[in-house]
């Protein structure tokens, strides 16, 4: 009962325009003060420890930073050229290339909105020029952008791993097959629509263009090898991988692509080569572009972590009042099996996803459902992937759908029109969600093959 009031209060505050983070934190604080003997000092401690005590969450600022360097530094542009060269000649080619580019960028970036901004800002304009409707273009990109959190690396997976103490490396591996599958399903759907509606296709420019574009994009795409190779090759932990990715992205952007930093050509002038301005080796680190990118990534980290830290205060309330145990007891007493349980999890997350930012929602829901899942013999990694796919759907459904907001901004169209545009492809994601939910193999095959079966310590 109390917990229902708590959640009603959170949602009520959000709806009158209180920031999400403060809706969570304020409601939780009031509850702790009224219901328990917890002190305000303990709430401040929780808040501080959200950052200082969760080593895995450290990956968040680093992945955001890597993503910022890649967007600013021209990686996205080169990935798109490569995608068009490779698949642009199919019916619906540019749209398929857009999805393919989103998949590639998703493999570099941990965030979905970042993927939409990086790819969408270029591809949507390109699609319109060759005769696609704006709605079709926006719908494709809003959906494909959600792959940002499913294809590793993924900030949402990092948060899940932190909330449940499963291994981040395992979660990343688990996202590979579902990510490829979801991307393929979207591309096939576009292909079918394109055949049916006779959508424009590009021309095949030959293997030469593929290789040229590929080798240009290769510098950026090599980051995939660095991240996954580094983690599974035993060079660094997933958190450190994110920091290495950020450093690599900075070096590529400043010294190889030179679209930002001291070597970037001003006002359309060609970019300088390093030998023309060797001092750049020093100045790049303190260049205005570098500072701005660091600052932008820092700001995004701050707003995201403010939500997560306050969600952790809410989690403190739930733990303190032993809510997870009572919910688990209720569900197990009701005799739910794994199938019914997963339906319920999906429904909770789909509803929650309407209101909440994904990372915050995972922080709150994971501790509630995790113990039950373990009890029912559901693989924690499988559960994690189900949650991520739900979060993807939440991102393209109103009222809080980060990808919708971003797409409407990027495409310059009203949000409700984006919602309608995204709808047909949302259907694809729903089918995909059902597949992921009831075919555990999709999520567990790679991690089990490469890392052995999941150990359940609890």
């Amino acid at each position: 009962m109390e917990v229902a009031i708590l959640f009603a209060m959170v949602i009520g505050l959000m709806l009158i325009g209180v920031p999400i983070a403060i809706s969570l934190g304020f409601s939780s604080t009031i509850f702790l003060l009224v219901l328990s003997d917890t002190s305000l000092a303990s709430i401040a401690q929780s808040f501080f420890q959200a950052m200082a005590g969760h080593y895995t969450l450290l990956a968040i600022p680093f992945f955001i930073l890597a993503s910022s360097f890649m967007s600013t530094g021209g990686v996205a542009r080169r990935i798109i050229r490569f995608s068009i060269a490779l698949v642009g000649h199919f019916p619906g080619g540019l749209a398929i290339a857009g999805v393919f580019a989103c998949m590639l960028f998703a493999a570099l970036s941990g965030s979905s909105p970042a993927t939409v901004v990086a790819i969408g800002s270029i591809v949507i304009a390109g699609m319109r020029q060759v005769g696609y409707s704006k709605d079709f273009a926006a719908g494709v990109i809003a959906n494909a952008g959600t792959l940002g959190i499913l294809i590793p690396p993924s900030i949402v997976m990092v948060v899940y791993a932190s909330a449940t103490d499963v291994s981040v490396g395992r979660m990343f591996l688990a996202g590979v097959i579902p990510g490829l599958l979801a991307g393929t399903m979207l591309m096939v759907t576009i292909y079918v629509i394109a055949k049916f509606r006779n959508l424009p296709k590009g021309e095949w420019k030959g293997w030469r263009e593929v290789f040229e574009a590929g080798s240009e994009a290769g510098w950026g795409l090599f980051l995939i090898v660095i991240i996954l190779g580094g983690i599974y090759g035993g060079i660094f932990t997933p958190t450190e991988a994110a920091a290495v990715a950020a450093v690599y992205a900075f070096l590529i952007a400043s010294f190889v692509y030179r679209d930002m930093g001291p070597l970037a050509g001003k006002n359309g002038a060609p970019n300088l080569a390093l030998w023309q301005k060797p001092i750049a080796l020093v100045t790049a680190f303190v260049h205005r572009d570098t500072k701005d990118t660091l600052f932008e990534a820092g700001k995004l980290t701050i707003t995201l972590m403010f939500i997560i830290a306050n969600a952790l205060i809410l989690k403190h309330v739930l733990t303190d009042e032993q809510i997870p145990q009572s919910i688990a007891g209720m569900m197990l007493d009701a005799g739910f099996g794994p199938v019914m349980f997963l339906v319920i999890v999906n429904v909770i997350l789909l509803i929650g996803g309407q209101f909440m930012e994904p990372s915050g929602l995972i922080v709150i829901v994971a501790p509630l459902v995790f113990p039950i899942a373990i009890e029912l013999g559901i693989d924690p990694i499988h559960l994690g992937i189900i949650m991520v796919v739900n979060m993807e759907i939440g991102m393209i459904t109103p009222p809080v759908g980060l990808n919708l907001f971003v797409t409407s901004g990027v495409a310059g169209m009203p949000m409700m029109r984006v919602v309608r545009a995204a709808l047909p492809f949302l259907g694809v994601l729903f089918v995909f969600l059902i597949m992921v939910t009831y075919i555990p193999w999709l999520s567990t095959f790679l991690p089990t093959t490469f890392m052995g079966p999941e150990i359940i310590v609890r």
Partner: protein, 229 residues
């Protein structure tokens, strides 16, 4: 590009630039320390054992220092579906109500932050469960200036604080009151920024406390490419 916030005075511009620079420097330092430790471990089989702890504290500094900046520039995420539907007068009333809640939140958090930090700095906590009703009488256990962090060594140039904070005993590691200081400091800034934004809403200079989406700024630069021409 960073925000819609335009500082009005020279002093305001200075502070604004300072805040953005601090945020950039903290994040940059986090990346560098982590990266250097990877290189040292993989390449040289060594490393700074304190690296991880330093980075987690910097992470806390980044967020706690930055939340107030995000309030100032209206960068916090929220839901505007309802507030966009109602009349301007009702919208203003809701915004003021929301602002009052933010003020209450920041106030409670600041009290908690002070209470948490104070004993680590040998200072008295406030009494009272919700509101500070006074200062506690210091007990034997209220002096926690001796409490050190886990891995970060104590810097030699700070030895002069030992007689003040640790009864003259030597610190081996950094005392906790130093990294924890950001908590009351950041919360005080947060409260200050909420007071400012509340006044702005009151005077009609601002409409709400939230952006409707996080990527608004980044998006603006590219949106023109897609608008109907």
């Amino acid at each position: 590009m960073s925000s819609h916030y335009e500082p009005k005075s020279a002093f305001g511009r200075f502070i604004h630039e300072l805040e953005e620079t601090v945020i950039a420097i903290i994040l940059g330092a986090m990346v560098i320390v982590t990266f250097v430790n990877v290189v040292l471990r993989y390449g040289f089989n060594t490393g700074f054992i304190w690296g991880l702890e330093v980075v987690t504290f910097l992470f806390a500094w980044l967020v706690l220092f930055g939340v107030s900046y995000a309030v100032k520039t209206t960068a916090h995420l929220g839901v505007d579906a309802i507030t966009n539907l109602v009349s301007p007068a009702a919208r203003r009333a809701l915004a003021l109500l929301a602002a009052a809640i933010c003020l209450a939140y920041a106030f409670l958090l600041l009290k908690g932050a002070w209470d948490y930090w104070a004993n680590f700095a040998n200072l008295p906590q406030t009494t009272g469960r919700w509101f500070p009703t006074g200062l506690e009488e210091m007990k034997r256990t209220s002096y926690r200036g001796w409490y050190e962090v886990v891995d970060i060594p104590f810097p030699e140039w700070l030895r002069w604080i030992q007689p003040i904070m640790n009864e003259g005993e030597d610190y081996e590691k950094l005392p906790r009151f130093i990294p924890y200081f950001i908590l009351p400091f950041g919360c005080a800034l947060l409260l200050f920024r909420f007071v400012q934004v509340t006044l702005r809403i009151w005077k009609g200079e601002a409409e709400s406390l939230i952006v409707s989406h996080e990527a608004e700024d980044a998006v603006e630069d590219v949106a023109h490419m897609n608008r109907e021409g």
